[in-house]
Structures are given as structure tokens and as C-alpha cells.
Symmetry: C2
Subunit: 129 residues, 2 copies
Amino acid sequence: MSQPQTQFRSRCSIARTLDVLGDKWTLLVVRDLMWHGKHTFQELQASEEHIAANLLSERLKRLMALGLVAREAYQDRPVRYRYALTDEGRSLEVLLLQIMGWGHAHLGGGLFDPQTGRTVAEASLGGPQ
Amino acid sequence: MSQPQTQFRSRCSIARTLDVLGDKWTLLVVRDLMWHGKHTFQELQASEEHIAANLLSERLKRLMALGLVAREAYQDRPVRYRYALTDEGRSLEVLLLQIMGWGHAHLGGGLFDPQTGRTVAEASLGGPQ
DNA sequence: ATAGTCACTTTAATTTTGAAAGTGAGTCGC
DNA sequence: GCGACTCACTTTCAAAATTAAAGTGACTAT
């Protein structure tokens, strides 16, 4: 039981990161925990993109298994949890900023400023030029 | 036919980037085009991670539709193509470097130096600590 | 008691993926 | 000319992931 449980496709760091974060939802959950003050299951589920409950549940489990997210009960009877990034989870911020920058420059998405908590540039309506 | 053909889930730049690049294979194709001198269908298919031919075909189409990759025939009868990143495609290098850095630090993957074309740090065998 | 909240889990249809085999246009060896 | 081979895909089909919706269990509020 003390063996590493995660098997990777290859030794490549990019492939390993994609094994773990390479889907359409995981980083959006991280984004909401990181910048948008969403910490309960309900808040995370209510984001703009509307992740399905089963996927959110599964993604939170994965992120917890990876040590990127931790939860604590904020209430007993019934138990309710608050999810938060760990220090390791917070290390994803640079990655998120880079992805946001690229999406802004190339796909016309909005630009959020974590310092002020405000959207600095509006998204364009269409897709890429 | 001049309408933007890509529909995004939301205005968020991160969500848009994930709409387009958020899967387990696309960025590996970009990696191979960017750094590993793989430019034919066959070379791309033969990478360490063994992408299936149908997925490679579909991913190349998507990357071309996005203007990140272009191909040119390097031979007629039969026509054979060489795929290469466009300038816009090359703009993904910083992203790739960031992802590699994170995967190295947190998942024990290898570190590749694009300047020298060499692996600077070996991957560890197991998963994350 | 009845309705509502929250954090999920279950179910079932649809979509995506993955592995393998197949296709078409040609080249090579003999 | 014939069979074997290469390359760049496409097709097929089973398995896995996603989606939307409904259901569950433990409570709280009226």
C-alpha cells in the first residue's frame, strides 16, 4: 500500500501533467478555488461552465489524492465540506496565468487580474480570427 | 461561412484554452513538433506515448483549423505531408515549458532543455510523493 | 408534516477514446 | 508483372468518459 499509485504513460513531464490535469474540467475547478472564492461543492458546481455533479465529485477526489486540494468539514450533522488548495495546489497559479494569457491572446477570452479580483479585459464574442 | 466556427463554453480564457487544447494528446503533438523534430504522420505516431492514428489525424486537423499547425506536401504521387507549427503554434512554447516545469517539480517527470535538445534531469520512476 | 438545502451517488443516453484492421497510392526487388 | 512493403490515413467496434437528470440521506426551517 506504500507503492506509488499513479501510473504514468511516460517519463515526460508534459505527458505526466496531462495524465493528471489534462481534461476540460480539472483546471477550472482549480481556477475557482484559486481565484474566485468558491469553496463548497455547491459553489464549485454553480460556475459559469456548469460541471456535472459526478464529474466535480470525481475531480475533487483526484485533486485530493494528488495532494493539490484538501477539504475540512465546516459543519457536522450533516457533515459539509469546504475545499481549499494546498500549498502544492497553489503552485499551479503560474500555469493558470500562462494558460489564461494564451487564451486571451489567441482565443479572445477575458483577462482576470488575481491581484484585484477583477476582469481586466472583456472576452470577444466570436472564436479565434 | 465567415462566421467563427468555434463555440466556446464561456468567456473565460482558461475555459477556452481547455476547449481547444484540454485533452491528453494535443499538447504532446505540439511538443513533438516544437522540440523533437517530428514532422511526418509516422514520426508523430511513433512517439513514446503511442497516440492512435485516428486521434493523431483528428488532432492535426484541429490544430490546422486553429491555425497552430500547417502542412505542406513534401512529395506527390503519393502525396505525403510534413507538419509544422505556425508562428501562432510556436507561441505555445512558454506554456509547454511551464507545464514541463510543473510536471518535473510535482510529478517527477524529466526536464528537457530546448536549447540543447537534451534531457537535463531524468524522470523518477514512481508517481508523486 | 412538508418543503427545502447540501453533498453527493446512481442511472442511462451520448460522445470520445483506444486498439486494430483496412484502404489507396505508390515504390522496390526480382 | 507479381508480391511485399511504406506511408498516411479511414473505418470499425468495444471500452471508457461525459452529460443530464433523477435519486439519496442527513439534516433545517416553517
